[in-house]
Amino acid sequence: MNTKTMLYIVKRVLLAILTVWIVITVTFFVMHAVPGGPFQGEKAITPEAQAALEAKYGLDKPLMEQYTTYLKDVVTKLDFGPSLKNRGREVIDIIADGMKTSAKLGVIAAVSALIVGVVLGSVAALRRNKIIDRVIMVITTAFVSMPSFIMGTLLLLVFAVILQWVPANGATTGGLILPVITLALYPTAYITRLTRSSMLDVLGQDYIRTAKAKGVSAAKIIFGHALKNSLIPVITYFGPMLAYIVTGSLVVEKIFAVPGIGRSFVSSITDRDYPMIMGTTIILATLIVVMNLVGDILYKVVDPRINLE
């Protein structure tokens, strides 16, 4: 690793930290711009009770003081404060609880999307313009055009309600099958197309022709030369895929009633549970930023030819 790469990584990390700070700041100020404050819409409470509540949650202090306190708490202790709707529970505990299910869901979806996508993409590239290639491309085009919530509800309707092959509730055993499929379909389709085009690109390279001329077996060409190199563009999709899975899981968890972080985020929006919205946004945003960072650095390390700036 040369100094140029090191410099790039340092720059990238700094940008990531800056991004996370901006996310926290934007979230904080956006949330405090809400008219009426967080206690609006609850049962009519006396001004004294309101004042007491504000004092308890530190809402009576100046905005900048609240901001610095919040920033310090978040950075040092991951303390997002207590949830307003789930009284007596810390936001970070709710997030940690939901994270277990969501992480399982997301990781399975990501891994299956990678495996299926790479396999299908390679098959499509190696059988270019044959029937199987056409079928794969048509199906992936269709999946790319279908919003995840529509895909999810249609899958739910067909497989859980009409055919009753799998349970409709995501909290039961086997209930994660449909959410995983729903979440994985779009990335799978995308990775398939990505792999296909980069594989086609690689197959046209000189070193593949050289290998063929030397009499290397087809299997060795595919697995030893072509596949490895054609996976490089897939690495760039690592970050966007995670972002898709995180945002996609919001609706998917709502549809399938998966007790994950996405469902509590969606319900916190409708409940106007501000600490919860802020906490979840910050955690998920950090996750996405970090994953984008990892993807970019990996990309640079794997293929040093790439000039990033």
């Binding site: 940008l15 990531a16 800056l18 991004t19 901006i22 996310v23 934007v26 979230t27 956006v30 949330m31 711009a33 809400v34 008219p35 009426g36 085009t141 269709a142 790319v144 055009s145 279908m146 919003p147 995840s148 919530f149 529509i150 509800t153 249609l154 739910l156 309707l157 309600v161 690109d201 972002a243 995180v246 945002t247 919001l250 609706v251 709502k254 549809i255 969606v266 929006i269 409708t270 919205i277 946004t281 998920l284 945003a285 996405i288 930023v289 984008n292």
Partner: protein
């Protein structure tokens, strides 16, 4: 040398090869093609992109113009009155069905009855009586006739040597035996008629007895008396027929004495006697027919009354079960076994309307009626009524046909009783408009910032690009959700009373979010384009020729950027529609009652198992729009940016 104008000689000048100048001229005269003409040609060659474009145009035109002709409004709740909800039957109607009030308008209000069980005359069994088909006398007469015919045939054959007199006698013989056969047949018929009238009497008497037992008010003794009165005339006629037959026999015997040698007058006289006697027998029999028919009608009437009464008991049982609403499948079967089998009719005010083949047992048919859709029906409105001919039928109440024509709810209605098709059309309009405006906003902001940054360069470029980098690394969807959820609260008060209120705070916040976040990729793209174009030699040459910045931008930079701009805008639309539907699903989309495809789909999630069509229609439309926009955008890119082609 001056050329002769009409000379037949070959003009040698015409064969001189073209000079270089001429060749150049011809090259220039070829039809020129601009970049855009070329691009459009390439686009039209791409069938998928062309079809997608046609679909987009059709959908857009539909969403703009169809609501003008559609009889329902997107927020018009059907079955509503100024007082409030009048008719709850409009909610969640399946495609091509109607609400109750509409059904009444279509069918009118006169009650008609759908008959599924009727005790018509057809169900009465015929009265059985002993029928004589071949009496001994008839057999003998037929045999004699056959013999006479054979004899005549033998005589008529050539070479038999029969005299004319012999043939004439044989012919007379055939006539005589034919008459005898007629007389015998008449007697047979008369006997049958007597038997039938006696059987009718028995049946009528039995029916009358039964009616008395059942306590019917109808006095069937009249019917019994009528039938009984018919017996003696029929018997008299029978006696007459027998008498005539006997006379015929005597005449035949008298004829038998004669031979071929007898005088022609004698033979003729004998034949006339036989025929006259036979005719008397036939006349007597014919006279019975009218009497019998009359008696039959009377008897049937009597028996029908009793039969209907019996059926009414069965029908009442079913009605009671219907009213009690405790009809189970087994219950139905038991009831159905008592019902007669036969055809099922639909009557509108007594006029037979439709006939159904009853291929299944009545009990099964009762079940089928539950899903019978041409006439409104519910479990409570079953009745036993009496038809014109005095029979009782069990039927379902309906409404009179032939009323108003009402436009169907093509896609059914939603949970609030609004026509779903027009909501989808409006949803399409909203989604397409949101996609288009969001793209335009992104385009304007991105183009402005991108071209400034690219053209000015230096420190401005550096600062703008750092901001772009930061916004680019923000997780866009989360920020969109965050901003949209807060902005719609903030904007609610700000836009109150202005034009924007009609559009709704949610859509405005959506546009603001798009303007804030999504311009970055567009500005990057344009900056890159401007940067590379600025270094092109033709820009340098324009500068050298003394062109100002304005001319360079207008004539050189913009035209070369425009294809990239159009393509990325076209591809931005589906992603904006995507984002809008996603936010609608989270409840951050358009304000109710305005529909968007996303909000329609997310509303349909309540009760998707019972009303899947409410989910499927918007899902199909949104997928179609996004798919065709994507494919069209791809086609556009391939056609207008050939540098990207591999």
């Amino acid at each position: 040398v001056k050329k002769k104008p009409f000379s037949m000689h070959v003009d040698l000048d015409a064969f001189i090869p073209a000079t270089d100048k001429e060749k150049e001229y011809m090259v220039q005269m070829r039809p020129s093609s601009t970049f855009f003409k070329d691009g459009v040609k390439r686009l039209l060659k791409n069938k998928i992109a062309t079809i997608s474009f046609i679909i987009i145009v059709i959908l857009s035109l539909t969403s703009i113009f169809l609501p003008m002709f559609w009889p329902y409004g997107y927020d018009q709740m059907l079955g509503m009155d100024s007082i409030g909800r009048m008719d709850a039957s409009y909610g969640n109607i399946s495609p091509f069905r109607y609400g109750d009030t509409e059904m009444e308008r279509i069918l009118g209000t006169a009650k008609v009855h759908q008959v599924f069980l009727s005790t018509n005359k057809a169900y009465l069994e015929d009265v059985v009586f002993e029928e004589v088909k071949e009496s001994a006398g008839l057999t003998a007469a037929t045999a004699a006739l056959d013999a006479a015919k054979a004899e005549l045939k033998a005589l008529k054959e050539e070479g038999s040597g029969a005299t004319e007199a012999e043939i004439a006698f044989a012919e007379a013989k055939v006539d005589v035996y034919e008459a005898l056969e007629t007389a015998e047949k008449a007697v047979n018929s008369a006997t049958n008629a007597e038997n039938e009238i006696k059987a009718l009497y028995d049946a009528t008497a039995a029916a009358a007895k039964k009616a008395e037992d059942l306590g019917l008010k109808d006095d069937l003794s009249v019917n019994v008396n009528t039938v009984q009165g018919a017996i003696s005339p029929v018997s008299d006629r029978k006696a007459e027929a027998i008498d005539a037959r006997d006379k015929t026999l005597a005449a035949v015997n008298a004829f038998a004495v004669l031979t071929a040698e007898s005088s022609a007058e004698d033979i003729k006289a004998a034949v006339t006697t036989v025929n006259a006697a036979a005719e008397m027998a036939s006349a007597a029999t014919k006279a019975t027919k009218a009497t019998i028919e009359e008696a039959e009608t009377v008897s049937d009437k009597a028996r029908q009354v009793v039969f209907a009464k019996e059926q009414k008991a069965v029908a009442d049982e079913i009605l009671a079960a219907f009213t009690a609403k405790n009809v189970s499948a087994d219950n139905y079967k038991a009831l159905g076994e008592n019902l007669p089998e036969g055809a099922v009719y639909t009557y509108f005010d007594g006029v037979k309307h439709k006939e159904y083949e009853l291929d299944t047992p009545v009990s099964d048919w009762l079940w089928k009626m539950g899903s019978f859709n041409s006439v409104k029906r519910s479990a409570g409105d079953t009745a036993v009524i009496e038809t014109a001919n005095g029979c009782f039928v069990l039927c379902f109440e309906g409404y009179k046909g032939g009323g108003e024509k009402i436009f169907p709810h093509v896609f059914g209605t939603d949970a609030h009783g609004r026509d779903y098709f027009i909501r989808i059309v409006y949803g399409m309009r909203v989604s397409l408009a949101v996609g288009l405006f969001a793209s335009i906003i992104v385009l304007v902001i991105g183009m402005l910032i991108g071209s400034i940054s690219g053209y000015l360069g230096g420190k401005v470029d550096l600062i703008i690009m750092r901001i772009v980098d930061i916004i680019y690394s923000l997780p866009d969807m989360l920020m969109v959700i965050l901003l949209a959820s807060v902005l719609k609260l903030v904007l609610g008060d700000v836009i109150e009373g202005t034009v924007f209120e009609k559009i709704g705070s949610n859509i405005i916040s959506l546009f603001i979010v798009f303007g804030l976040l999504y311009w970055v990729s567009m500005s990057r793209l344009i900056r890159g384009q401007i940067l590379s174009l600025r270094e092109q030699e033709y820009v340098l040459s324009a500068k050298c020729s003394g062109a100002g910045s304005g001319r360079i931008i207008k004539k050189h930079l913009v035209p070369n950027c425009i294809s990239v701009i159009i393509i990325s805008t076209a591809l931005q639309i589906p992603s904006a529609i995507f984002t809008e539907s996603y936010l609608s699903f989270l409840g951050l989309g358009v304000n109710a009652p305005m529909p968007s495809l996303g909000s329609l789909a997310s509303d349909a999630l309540n009760g998707y198992a019972s009303y899947p069509h409410r989910l499927i229609f918007p899902a199909v439309v949104i997928s179609l729009i996004v798919l065709s926009l994507n494919l069209f955008g791809d086609g556009l890119r391939d056609a207008f940016d050939p540098k990207l082609n591999k």
